[in-house]
Each structure stands twice: as structure tokens, then as C-alpha cells.
């Protein structure tokens, strides 16, 4: 990387890179023409030819599936809670270590994020032609997020350190509360998993699998590097078996064979079956990512920790794993992103997550042949989620980097 001050101004640089030689200029022109016509075609289709009613009329189905209408306040509450928690984490992130080091409270990236969030909250509900009340709810939730972000950024430093140390516990707690809200029970009307659908089911399946595959994957990775042959071979067998099979065959196995493997009545619901299959599937891949991280840690580290009197589990927990996980982080997030994408395969075994909802909606005669609109909407949705995960992971990497480049 050259130093920014040495770089020629952007205009000059662009001119030399795009039109430096005749060949280069020709290539640029051809590419520009192709890009221009593609962009025009897409715009023309999106604004003139496309019939977005298929997405607008079914937005609830896409969002939550057949979740009972009179119970949907629970999901709104959960969304509000999540927004508040996200705002809190975001604000504290900026107020705490950064400000001590003279960081800004609202750096440029954050300002961009605020504008994007506000624009999304305004534009998407309007574009979907949601009812005014529901549009207002989205504005409210976005406002809540930003408000908490502002408050936490402002007063976060005054919070006692012990309280701050407890904050990471907020997320598992929130997850439990969320599952309770979604699933019902304990005074709330139970909503069976069969009624969850759309984005809700996609997110539940993905988050469940991501949370549970992590410990499983770490155990498997340790097992694979263990000195004990039974553990090692067991782990290797499991990892290679799972990695050798297409996910769809495993889902197929989960849906069609679990019923035979467990005594009647014990078999979990189809949704949970698929979520467990996703978990077991992702664990094998995660184990390989963690193993690569473990390999990167010199064996001397473990020996040094042992010579300081730590037991093996202690040394693993406090010395080896934190470093290995940091090394493995980009790969792991990559796995999580593909896990989120893999949830679409649940539709092939008849579940109604986003993709399955799309299939159902398009079976409705009123929307026959509106494939492009639906698939494009889903693609944008997935792209945003996955890209956000990727961005988040890169930010986290930078934060965790023990020797920052600058």
C-alpha cells in the first residue's frame, strides 16, 4: 500500500488507469457501453415492465409466513428489542475504547450508516405500500435504534465498568427471550414452528445453526487434533462424512429418516429437524476452519502455557483458542454467510422459509410467471444480509487485530 499523500489526485489516476493506452481506452469504452445498456435494461424493466404487486400483496407472507395475525405484536416487540440492543452495542462501541483514544463519536462510516438506515426505513415500507400504521412502526423502530445509539454513545462512558462487562450476556439473553416470544408458552399462546415462515424462519434457522454449530465445531476441531486415537478418528470420520455429502441429501435424510431413527413422538418438528441438520452440517465445516486456526498457532504456545503450570484445558481456553479463533474468524464468518444462504435449501424439503414462500406465492394463479420480481427481491434481501455480515466481520477483524497496521 502506498502512502495516500504520494497518490496522484483521483482524476489523474482514473484517467491514466482507464484511458492510459489505446487498448485500455477501447476496453473501457466497451465495458462502459455494456454496463450502460445493462443498467438501462434493468431500470426499464424494474420501473416499466415489472409488476411488483406480487411482492407487495404478499409482504406479510414473505416476512413471517403464516404467523397468526393477532400474535404478530410479539414479533414487533422482538424487533424493537433487537433494535434497542443493536443501538446500545453500537453506541458503546464508539463511546468506549475509541473515545479514550480520541476517536470520534460519529465517525464517517457511522454517519453513512445512519443515512442508510433512515433511507431504508422510509423507502422500503413505502415501496412495499405497507399500511400507514405498519410504516409508522418501522419508523419508530429505526428511531429507537438511533436514539439508543445516540444515548449510549453520549453517556456510555459514565456506565460502571462492571455493568459493561455484563453486557455481552445481553445477546444470549435476548436470544432466549426472542425464542420465547416467537414460540410462545409461559402465558403466551404457543405458535407451532409449522406456522413460522418467510424471513422469520430463515433467520431462526440460520441463527440457531450458527449459535450451536460454533461450540460443536470447536469441539470437533480439538477432537481432530487430539492425541487420543478414538477421539481423533471419530472426529475425522464425522467431519469427512458430512463434508462429503451435499446438504440437500442430508436435509432429505433429516426429513425422511429421523422419523425412523427415533421412537414415535420423540422426533422433533420438521423445522427443528432441518435446523439441527443445518447445525450438524455447519459444525463440520466450522471445525475445519477452527483447525486451520489451531494449526497456525505455534506448538510452543501450548508448551509455554503448560510450563507455566496451566492444565491442558486451561491452556487451550486462555491461550490457544483465542488466538486460533482470531485467525479463523474470516473463514468462520464465510461459513456463517454460506449457512445463511444454505437455508434456501429448506424449501427443497417443503419448508416455507423465504425461498419456499416464494414457491408458494408463485403457485398462486394471480401471480403466475412473476418469477423475476420475486427472485430479484429475494436476491437483494440476501445480498444485503450477507454483505452486512461480511462488512461486520471485516470491522471485527480490524478491532481484534493485535498489531494494527496504522
Amino acid at each position: 500500500m502506498s502512502h495516500p499523500a504520494l497518490k496522484p489526485p483521483l482524476g489523474t489516476r482514473l484517467r491514466s488507469e482507464l484511458f492510459g493506452s489505446p487498448g485500455n481506452s477501447a476496453l473501457t469504452l466497451v465495458l462502459l457501453a455494456a454496463l450502460g445498456s445493462a443498467a438501462f435494461g434493468l431500470l426499464h424493466w424494474g420501473l416499466v415492465q415489472a409488476r411488483w404487486a406480487v411482492v407487495r400483496a404478499n409482504s406479510t407472507l414473505f416476512a413471517v409466513g403464516r404467523y397468526p395475525l393477532d400474535q404478530q405484536w410479539r414479533l414487533w416487540l422482538l424487533t424493537a428489542l433487537l433494535a434497542a440492543a443493536a443501538g446500545l452495542a453500537w453506541g458503546l462501541l464508539r463511546s468506549h475504547p475509541r473515545r479514550d483514544r480520541g476517536g470520534e463519536l460519529w465517525p464517517r462510516n457511522d454517519r453513512i450508516a445512519v443515512v442508510l438506515l433512515a433511507a431504508t426505513a422510509l423507502a422500503v415500507p413505502w415501496w412495499l405500500r405497507l399500511e400507514p400504521l405498519i410504516q409508522a412502526r418501522w419508523w419508530g423502530i429505526t428511531a429507537l435504534l438511533l436514539l439508543v445509539r445516540w444515548a449510549a454513545g453520549h453517556w456510555g462512558q459514565r456506565l460502571p465498568a462492571r455493568l459493561l462487562a455484563l453486557l455481552p450476556l445481553l445477546w444470549p439473553l435476548l436470544y432466549l427471550v426472542g425464542m420465547l416470544l416467537i414460540n410462545g408458552g409461559v402465558g403466551l399462546l404457543p405458535v407451532p414452528p409449522g406456522d413460522w415462515g418467510g424471513l422469520l424462519l430463515t433467520l431462526i434457522a440460520a441463527s440457531f445453526a450458527i449459535l450451536l454449530c460454533f461450540p460443536l465445531g470447536v469441539l470437533l476441531a480439538l477432537g481432530r487434533r487430539s492425541d487420543l486415537p478414538l477421539l481423533r478418528w471419530g472426529s475425522v470420520l464425522y467431519i469427512e462424512f458430512i463434508r462429503g455429502a451435499p446438504l440437500i441429501t442430508l436435509l432429505f435424510l433429516g426429513q425422511n429418516m429421523i422419523g425412523f431413527l427415533l421412537p414415535g413422538g420423540l422426533a422433533p418438528d420438521r423445522v427443528w429437524r432441518a435446523a439441527w441438520v443445518l447445525t450438524f452440517f455447519a459444525a463440520a465445516y466450522l471445525a475445519e476452519a477452527v483447525r486451520a486456526g489451531l494449526v497456525a498457532i505455534p506448538p510452543g504456545q501450548l508448551e509455554a502455557a503448560r510450563s507455566l503450570g496451566l492444565t491442558v484445558p486451561q491452556a487451550l481456553r486462555t491461550v490457544v483458542l483465542p488466538q486460533a479463533l482470531r485467525v479463523a474468524l474470516p473463514t468462520m464468518v464465510g461459513q456463517f454467510i454460506s449457512l445463511l444462504q444454505d437455508t434456501t435449501m429448506l424449501s427443497l424439503v417443503g419448508l416455507m422459509e423465504l425461498m419456499g414462500t416464494a414457491r408458494t406465492v408463485m403457485a398462486n394463479p394471480a401471480y403466475l410467471g412473476r418469477n423475476a420480481e420475486v427472485y430479484l427481491t429475494l436476491a437483494v434481501l440476501f445480498w444485503c444480509c450477507c454483505a452486512a455480515l461480511g462488512l461486520g466481520s471485516r470491522a471485527l477483524e480490524r478491532r481484534l487485530d493485535p498489531n494494527p497496521a496504522s
Partner: protein
Amino acid sequence: MGEPFSGPLPWWRDRRVLPWLMQGAVALVVLLLIAFLLGNLVRNLSAAGMLLSFRWLQQPAGFDVSETLLPFDAGLPYWRALVAGLVNTLRAVLVGLVGATALGTLVGLASFSSNALLRGLARAYVELIRNIPLLLQLVFWYFVVFLALPNGEAALQLPGVVLAKSGLFLAWFGEGLRWSGPTLVEGVWQAPLRLTVEFSALVTGLVVYTGAFISEVVRGGITAVPKGQWEAAASLGLGPLVTLRRIVLPQALRVIVPGLNTQYISLAKNSALAVAVGYTDLYSVAETTLNQTGRAVEVILILLGAYLVIDLAISALMGWFNRLVRIRER
């Protein structure tokens, strides 16, 4: 292993025993679990009158399999149907591998172009494709792109290639080994080599998807070669293409080949999504077979075994290639 202990150590804390004890416990739990599951399986299967057997493979399948390389009709037994499906899978995988490698290499190289726009496009392609589920891309290619193609005279025509809704028609050696291109006979395209749109959509989807990942592998491999090598080659008067071919790629391949192996295997496994675009691959035939016979366990075993063998074959091939690359390096 000497322990700084004076008194006799209880046997369960003995370092020689402890690990084995742990292993034994884990093995016991796993064995019990397996026994429990298998017990249920046997009980449930015998209750349904479907004890494990592969004799049904000999019975006539009763359904048809389209676009098979081996001749197949509904009167042939199930195992022939499964083999036909396997051959279809292999065909898609092979074509997909070649296409994805070519596309990935091109895009990977494009990310080193001196043209900023091309570099940006290569980057945008990777970022776009990697963040959209493959299944979504496949149905998009099939239902939105390929099924919207015109038929007859309006079809997309290039020299030797015609792309219509009825398929992709290519020039090839026809009767009597004469090279002949696609022709329009009474409004229907005909050519010596015809690929269905299902096959084309599947392969396009797989190539575009896997190509993005392969381009990253290629990019990583080339980045791993020190920049000084380029400069040294340039100072010797070698052009960039020659440098790439003779100096950089041979070294980059060491890094690229293992990465390629992973991508090839994932392409092979992803080919099972063919079922979403109406291409009759192994998974699709297996699903039909399961439905007609009710033999869930046997069919799943066959499926898992077949994909495992394909993966192992790819790994073996890439392992061989990897050794080849290593020897050359010396």
C-alpha cells in the same frame, strides 16, 4: 510420565489411564446412541414391513429419465435409472468444472488488470455472486433467463451456436463425421449437439457461482507470488503474459490447486440442486425412486455413497495434479 506425587495415585487419576477412560466414555456414549438409533430403525422398518434389502433395485423402474447418455426406458430396472442419473450428474459436473475453472481464471486475472473499470467489474462480480444463494441463482437462470428465450427464428443465433427455449444447439460432427451447424427445420432447431435448457441453466448457474470462488482462489495464488518476481521478469525483458505463464502461474499453482480442490468438490455437491431446475440428475432419480419404492434408508445410503465416491475421485485427481505441480517446481 513421572508425577511429583508421593502417595499412591488413585487409578482413575493416572495419566496413563485417564485419557483412555475419557475415550472409552465417549465411545460408549456414541455406541449406545448408535445402538439406540439402529434399534429404532430396525423396529420401525420391520413394523412397516421394509427391512433393509436391495433386491428392489432389480425391479423395473416404471418411470422415464430424460436426456440420458446411456439408453434408458421405463422397462429397465431401478439400478439402471440410478446409473443414468449418476451419468447425468457426472456430465453436469465435468462441464461445470471446465467452465468454472475458465471463468474463475479469467476473472482472477482480470482483477490484476491495469484497467480500473475491469478490476472493479471483477470485484463486483465476486461480491455480487458470493452473497446470493446458489439455489436462488439457479432458479433465476432457469425460470427468468432460459425459459424466457424465444424459439424458432427469433432465437439467439451466433455462428455455430443457437440458443433457444428448446435448447442450446451447437455445431459438431454430425452424420459421417461431417462438421455441421444448427439448422432450422420447419420452425424447429436441429443440430448434431443439443443441450437442454435445464442442463444449460444448471451448468450456467454452477459455473457463474463457482467461478466467483475460483477467481478468489486464483487471485490469492497470484498475490502469494512476491511482486519482485514480476519486476525481475520485466527487467529481463519478458512481457506480462509470458511472465504470467512461465513464471508466476507455476508458482501460484502450488497455492491454487488445494483451493481448487475444495471448490471442485463443492461444485460436485451443489450439482444436486439440479432438481430445482428440472434436470434429471442422481438426486432427482433417487427422489423419484424413493417415492415409488418407499425405500428411504437404502436410497439415502446409495445417494451418500455416490457423492462420497465422486468427492474422493476429485480429491484423488487433484492430489495427483498437486504432486505434478510440485515436481515441476524443482
